[in-house]
């Protein structure tokens, strides 16, 4: 358990962090509602609720000039890196004002302006891209770090091995962060991994192992991520494993099995928002008025985003053929 009294973040920053976590939660709930109402299309919608502390905690440890890349469960990561919420929602709707012009959809949210390099939907496929982006930093000696989120399921395909090994032999400034939410689609980690303590894979690459962290606790993630990011900046790649939980299925339309309902209840007792609120209350006994402002503020942002998305134009035939080539 992290010692919150040691945090260097100010009260205002912590409220901002909490605001971001609530925003992700409500954004995802709204996406689910709109998906079920068929306003958001696509075969899948992979939601991030339950995992907010991991994404927000790790990204908070970065400088604005550092880089983030992730897999298809990317809404929360994009919000945490500072992408425009209106344009993220517009992308869900397939509108031309979306971050990816309505051509990427839920799984492909990138915003180059905030160095969010995108969500990628081939499991593991973004890992060598992360290595390549980090190679740019190494090549130019610019001191920038790449934070690469990895689902637990991606640790068993060849991309994981090849990309982590390459990052090690080239000493690339990458923080590899496994978001272990216990399942790759429906298969439990211990069924798919010979070594279910996934952070131990670091040993195979001679890479610094930052161990397991409680992915439901912002402070725990932030503290480890800070150390990991600064290590990566000067000394090469690191691996962290955050234990977290997704409240939905692999996609929202997937069935939640009975076993998972019980399991989820134990995780929800340590819900990232609940943990954060109680810690803030313990740190700042008079914080209640600030906390109370968060939900209305978030509701307004989400509502505005939905309105923006609904009112935005759809892509044109010209958009269809644009940007195939540079």
């Amino acid at each position: 358990m992290s010692d919150v009294t040691k945090t260097t973040l100010t009260r205002a920053e912590l409220i901002e962090v909490y605001h971001q976590m609530v925003l992700i939660r409500r954004f995802e709930e709204k996406c689910k509602e709109l998906y079920n109402a068929r306003k958001i299309g696509g075969v899948y919608l992979h939601l991030y609720n339950g995992q907010e502390a991991t994404g927000v905690g790790a990204i908070k440890a970065l400088k604005p000039t550092d880089h983030v890349i992730t897999a298809y469960r990317d809404h929360g990561i994009a919000i945490a890196k500072g992408a425009d919420v209106k344009r993220l929602m517009a992308e869900m709707f397939g509108k031309r004002t979306g971050v990816s012009g309505g051509k990427g959809g839920s799984m492909h949210l990138a915003d180059v302006n905030v160095r969010m390099w995108g969500g990628y939907a081939i499991v593991g496929g973004h890992l060598p891209l992360a290595a390549g982006i980090a190679l740019k930093s190494k090549y130019n000696d610019d001191g920038e770090v790449v934070l690469c989120f990895i689902g637990d399921g991606a640790t068993n395909n060849g991309y994981f091995h090849e990309a982590l090994n390459l990052s090690a032999v080239w000493d690339l400034p990458v923080v590899w962060l496994i978001e272990n939410n216990l399942y790759g689609m429906g298969t439990p980690v211990e069924v798919s991994s010979g070594q279910p303590e996934l952070h131990k894979r670091a040993i195979a690459y001679g890479m610094k192992d930052f161990g397991r962290v409680d992915g439901m606790d912002f402070f725990a993630v932030y503290e480890v991520a800070q150390q990991a990011v600064e290590y990566a900046r000067t000394s090469g790649p690191v691996l962290i494993e955050a234990i977290t939980y997704r409240y939905e299925g692999h996609g929202v339309s997937d069935r939640i099995y009975m076993k998972r309902v019980e399991e989820m209840q134990t995780f929800q007792q340590r819900d990232p928002l609940v943990v954060m609120e109680s810690k803030l209350r313990a740190m700042f006994p008079d914080i209640e008025p600030e906390l109370a402002q968060v939900e209305p503020s978030v509701a307004a942002i989400v509502e505005e985003a939905v309105r923006f998305a609904e009112e935005s134009p759809t892509p044109t035939a010209e958009d269809l053929t644009r940007n195939v080539y540079a």
Partner: protein
């Protein structure tokens, strides 16, 4: 401008070296490109001249080589990655097709992917089934990535330089059998042949032979034989499978009204299939004979030389095909 008579591998080496001198962002990566001087000696002496920062040996990790090149290119470098032979590029297929070719479109133009993947290609020399591929058409199937394959040392220099200077991903295949063959190559460091521009390698009146890569040599030999018999062949080297110089092919076909397509690769869903389809779709009124195709046989390549050669195209097969339609 002065020119030198040098083998294709030296022409490629000159192109790469000049581009690395010209642009600090250009670097090479791949298996054995450094200390070993390159499997095909195209990067001979590069490690000494440019150092380990810009001449990067990699592990045997095709997925990571291609994927890291994508990331580095997105981030602003200009990687020239070498996949030792195209046979191994199948391992990199996902990184090339799902990422190199698509990230620009998928994120609606937020990223450019100025990368080149060089790979040696070609059937034969008893290399057997898994080491005898000429799969250019498969890779040229997908929008977003260019594909070039030079037939002469001069083309090799001018085309590779164009590929490196272009802002799109390029798969650049180099016919193994052509590496040692000499030809005149301009010394000019700005000798750049435009992407997508084919070349009439021999002018003629009676039959258009459309080909690329090693097929150019067979087609020119066949044209020479046929000329002695009074048949005039026009040999078109498309140079680029994507973008394909259809206007050049159509212009020739309007004159000859007959076409033979020659390729080293397999016949099913092939280069020949595509050209034939394009001709019947757009040039039907000019067509005086069936379109003929010369390719490898539809079998994996065996080891024994006698039956291996049976499966491969050659000048005799081109001559026979032309004679069928005049």
């Amino acid at each position: 401008m002065a020119e030198k008579n040098i083998p294709m591998r030296e022409a490629l080496r000159a192109a790469l070296r000049e581009e690395m001198i010209r642009d600090e962002r250009v670097f090479v990566m791949g298996q054995e490109v450094g200390a070993w001087d390159g499997t095909h000696k195209v990067t001979r002496g590069f490690l000494d001249e440019f150092g380990a920062r810009r001449v990067r040996d990699t592990p045997i990790s095709e997925m990571a080589i291609a994927g890291a090149a994508v990331g580095a290119a997105m981030a602003g470098l200009r990687p020239v990655a070498e996949i030792m032979t195209i046979n191994f590029a199948f391992l990199a297929f996902d990184a090339l097709i799902n990422h190199a070719a698509k990230v620009r479109y998928m994120f609606d133009g937020q990223f450019k992917v100025p990368m080149v993947v060089r790979a040696a290609t070609g059937w034969g020399n008893q290399a057997t089934a898994t080491h005898s591929h000429t799969p250019e058409p498969i890779f040229a199937h997908f929008p977003g990535m260019y594909l070039g394959c030079p037939a002469t040392p001069a083309d090799a220099k001018g085309m590779l330089k164009a590929a490196i200077r272009d802002d799109n991903p390029v798969l650049f295949t180099e016919v193994i059998a052509l590496y040692p063959k000499p030809g005149p190559v301009p010394d000019d460091p700005d000798f750049v042949l435009p992407i997508g521009k084919g070349d009439i390698k021999r002018a003629g009146e009676d039959v258009t032979i459309v080909t690329y890569g090693r097929g150019v040599e067979w087609s020119l030999d066949a044209a020479e034989t046929l000329a002695r018999e009074g048949v005039s062949c026009e040999v078109i080297d498309v140079r680029w499978l994507r973008p394909l110089d259809l206007p050049l092919i159509f212009q020739s076909f309007k004159k000859t009204n007959r076409c033979v397509i020659v390729e080293e690769s397999l016949p099913f869903y092939s280069f020949g299939s595509e050209i034939a389809a394009q001709l019947q779709e757009h040039m039907f009124d000019y067509m005086d004979a069936p379109i003929k195709r010369v390719s490898a046989m539809d079998v994996p390549l065996p080891y024994a030389k006698e039956i291996e050669l049976m499966a491969l195209p050659d000048a005799h097969k081109v001559v026979a095909a032309v004679k069928e339609i005049i």
